[in-house]
């Protein structure tokens, strides 16, 4: 299953907190796509995902100050 979380306009650490809450509700193997525009999230979200043991399947910049990251729950 794949789910998209739109957190554009939110400032850090809220994109990260929303992503953490969301992934807690999901099942192992599910993918969460987070779309965010908070610059500091480019550091905090992948760092959290890696340390929590989830797999980042995609991470790219879409536009000026706009990013997407796909996290597969472990």
């Amino acid at each position: 299953m794949q789910k998209t979380l739109e957190v554009k306009g939110m400032v850090c650490p809220f994109p990260l907190i929303e992503a953490q809450n969301e992934i807690e509700e999901m099942n192992s193997g599910d993918v969460l796509v987070v779309e965010f525009d908070c610059t500091q999230g480019t550091e905090s979200i992948p760092s959290w995902a890696a340390e929590a043991g989830h797999t980042v399947t995609n991470f790219e910049q879409l536009d000026e100050a706009s990013w997407t990251i796909s996290i597969q729950k472990k």
């Binding site: 400032v11 525009d37 610059t39 991470f59 000026e64």
Partner: protein, 357 residues
């Protein structure tokens, strides 16, 4: 005058650039010690303190400039730092963080900055100045320098501190590495390193420490014997703009303007600049946070840079006590802003599952 403008702007621009690209956010760092049990950014701050401390005391020993830490208004440092810590959580960034985020185009940071500049000015030369002076004059200890209090040479404190920081860095770097996924590279060479690559927090911290060190002789040459500082210069800008008195212009004013410019350049070149409007709640929080930052930093005689990075490196009580209470302030605010809402949401959900519909 032109020397002051050029070196101030340059030093600030370097700092703004490095902080923006390195995501050097002290607010986030203090907050994550509590909500994520992650001390990486705090260790990074210690590295920046250590680099600056060794450099500045070498310069002082060589006679490049003289520095006296003065006295310690302990009560206003404690209360002010705590208020400042609460403010930076609400504003979503410390004083420097707010300046560099403003350069990224975040309107919320512009709002915070407006509140911060206004309140610092009111505390330093406006209606609250008598209150501020009274607070500064109560509970004052005669010596601020830790070495002076114990009657020892400053290196007796600096060298063990550097050894501890070195040990922490060694432990951190030899830990089993978690690979942090990075963005798909779209550029090569220097452009990739400067405008795209993820900077390791410790590398960023070392650069911040070096810039904080360079700031001392550059600023001292204009008669302002101090390093990086944000609060007083931010107030000076508003004082100059509203009175037209050129006496308010100093090296620090150009430093903070440089931070804004440097961050804008870094963000623009990295395709990270965009005007972003916050929602109403974030906007209000930013304004309240900015005002609390102004009150707190004025009382404490420094923000997370002035006290947390510079006065700590000078091995003063003000720096280290200020840093501790600033961190406690961010933890207190983090509990109410991040931790409690989460616990409440969880409890509500649990109740929903337990109670049969």
């Amino acid at each position: 005058m032109s020397y002051m403008i050029i070196t101030g702007l340059l030093c600030g621009a370097l700092l703004g650039f490095v902080m923006q690209r390195g995501r050097f956010c002290l607010t986030g760092g203090f907050r994550d010690m509590y909500i994520a049990k992650n001390n990486r950014m705090f260790y990074a701050l210690l590295i920046a303190i250590a680099v600056q401390s060794v450099g500045v005391f070498l310069l002082i020993d060589l006679g490049v400039f003289e520095y006296s830490a003065g006295s310690l208004p302990i009560l206003s440092v404690i209360i002010g730092s705590f208020i400042f810590g609460i403010g930076i959580i609400l504003a979503g960034g410390c004083a420097t963080g707010t300046w560099y985020r403003a350069g990224e185009g975040l309107i919320g940071s512009w709002i915070a900055l407006a509140g911060y500049m206004l309140m610092s000015t009111m505390m330093k030369s406006g209606v609250f100045a008598p209150f501020n002076q009274q607070a500064q004059a109560s509970a004052v200890f005669p010596t601020n320098s830790i070495a002076e209090t114990f009657g020892i040479n400053h290196w007796v404190i600096i060298l063990p501190f550097v050894a501890i920081v070195g040990f922490i860095v060694y432990k951190q770097l030899t830990k089993p590495k978690v690979v942090v996924p990075s963005l798909k590279p779209k550029r090569t060479g220097l452009a990739h390193i400067l405008f795209e690559k993820r900077w390791h927090p410790f590398v960023t911290a070392t650069l911040v420490g070096i810039i904080a060190l360079i700031a001392w002789p550059l600023s001292a040459a204009t008669g302002r014997v101090f390093g990086l500082g944000i609060t007083t210069p931010s107030a000076n800008i508003l004082q100059y703009l509203t009175t037209g008195d050129q006496g308010n212009l100093n090296w620090g004013v150009f430093l903070v303007l440089g931070i804004f410019a440097g961050s804008f350049i870094a963000a623009k070149a990295s395709k990270e600049f965009r005007f972003r409007m916050p929602d109403v709640k974030t906007g209000i929080n930013s304004f309240i946070g900015g005002n609390l930052m102004g009150v707190g930093a004025s009382l404490a005689g420094g923000c997370s840079i002035g006290n947390g990075l510079v006065m700590t490196a000078m091995m003063t009580w003000q720096g280290w006590i200020g840093l501790v209470f600033m961190i406690l302030g961010t933890w207190t605010a983090s509990y109410f802003v991040f931790v409690r809402p989460r616990q409440k949401a969880k409890a509500a959900k649990l109740k929903e599952q337990v109670t049969p519909a």
